[in-house]
Symmetry: C2
Subunit: 218 residues, 2 copies
């Protein structure tokens, strides 16, 4: 998989613009757990070649909540927040799996964006997609109780991994959902008592997806 095929508007750029992007690309391979971006830096745009990234925000007390995840061919804009004056928040980006990616320097991208309507419109679409994910999150945390959010998270993980046996600690789940480990442990024990999951050290096995789905969709 080459860069051009992962960048949908490549054919709408001029030769000069392509050269500037292509000539400044940085290849990176990072291990699971690597923090790629954080602390208000302007790291650059991250285009996932293969792997999985997680973008989250941190509270002053160190609590986390996942705001979106990125998979193959997804582009992370918010790791290059200096491309737009109006982005007034910081995220952290971490590799959830071993990941190969391309990094586009923020300044190169920003300059081409000012001259290219196609690149600017593409950027708009990416931002709107992330914005939509955050709005979904707002609806979840405003209107959904924690049992439904844990059920939704387990089902999402099972879909991503295409597996029923998930290697996940209660701490990890809590960090995705922005809650405390104890809350997740209590919920998972309740799910286990109800026969929906089986718990073991470092793993959660989904036994009854139908009921988890019914819970999520109530």
């Amino acid at each position: 998989m080459n860069f051009q095929s992962c960048f949908p508007i490549w054919h709408q750029l001029t030769d000069d613009q392509r050269e500037r992007i292509y000539g400044s690309l940085i290849n990176r391979s990072v291990q699971k757990g690597t923090v790629l971006h954080g602390g208000g830096d302007c790291t650059g745009l991250l285009l996932v070649r293969s792997g999985q990234l997680r973008a989250y925000i941190l509270s002053e007390e160190g609590r986390e909540v996942t705001i979106y995840r990125l998979f193959d061919r997804d582009l992370c804009l918010l790791s290059a927040s200096c491309i737009m004056r109006s982005i007034q928040f910081d995220i952290t980006v971490e590799a959830e799996k071993d990941t190969d990616l391309w990094m586009i320097p923020a300044e190169v991208y920003r300059r081409i964006m000012t001259e290219s309507a196609p690149l600017s419109n593409y950027t708009n679409e990416i931002m709107a997609a992330r914005f939509s994910e955050v709005m979904w999150l707002v609806e979840q945390i405003m209107w959904k109780s924690m049992d439904r959010r844990v059920a939704a998270f387990l089902l999402e993980e099972a879909a991503i991994e295409d597996a029923e046996l998930l290697r996940l600690t209660h701490e990890t789940i809590a960090n995705h959902l922005g809650t405390h480990r104890e809350v997740v442990t209590r919920m998972l024990r309740y799910f286990q008592d109800e026969g929906m999951v089986r718990l073991a050290r470092g793993s959660v096995e989904l036994l009854d997806k139908k009921r988890l789905e019914a819970l999520r969709d109530t």
Copy 2:
């Protein structure tokens, strides 16, 4: 105040583009309480000439939470969500005060955006600004307790109105914050017992802003 002076990139558009926007503008004057946009329509972009709008989301049960507010010269993009495929959520926009505004038809704007890098980049900045407001909201609802959110809301209202005596029902405050009226009533009574506010039918008077600020900032 004319349209051109409220549209910061006016001088970066071509004569033809200006004519298409100017020729399609719709002037509207609405009373406080008018719902300008809702139900998944693609109403058009709303540019506030004078007045105040509120954008909020609704739960299935009819609960509300304010996601941002718009004042003089602010542009509402999300009332024209069809300008971008990737906007996958619906908001409702209501006049919080009597408001004069211009409406730009979504299709006119969208077409010019595809050809004009300045308009597309301007749109990006507006979207990033709204996105930032929603991220602020996420942080509030994730990490801040309701007493601090009520204090922050009262102080914001006092700043907008430039007044200590606020004409607000408990229901209105609850709808801004996405909670139940009873929760707000309990919190305001506590504030009153502590001497921070004085309550009367349909109003809240701020008596001790310093302490409300201290509470907000804890």
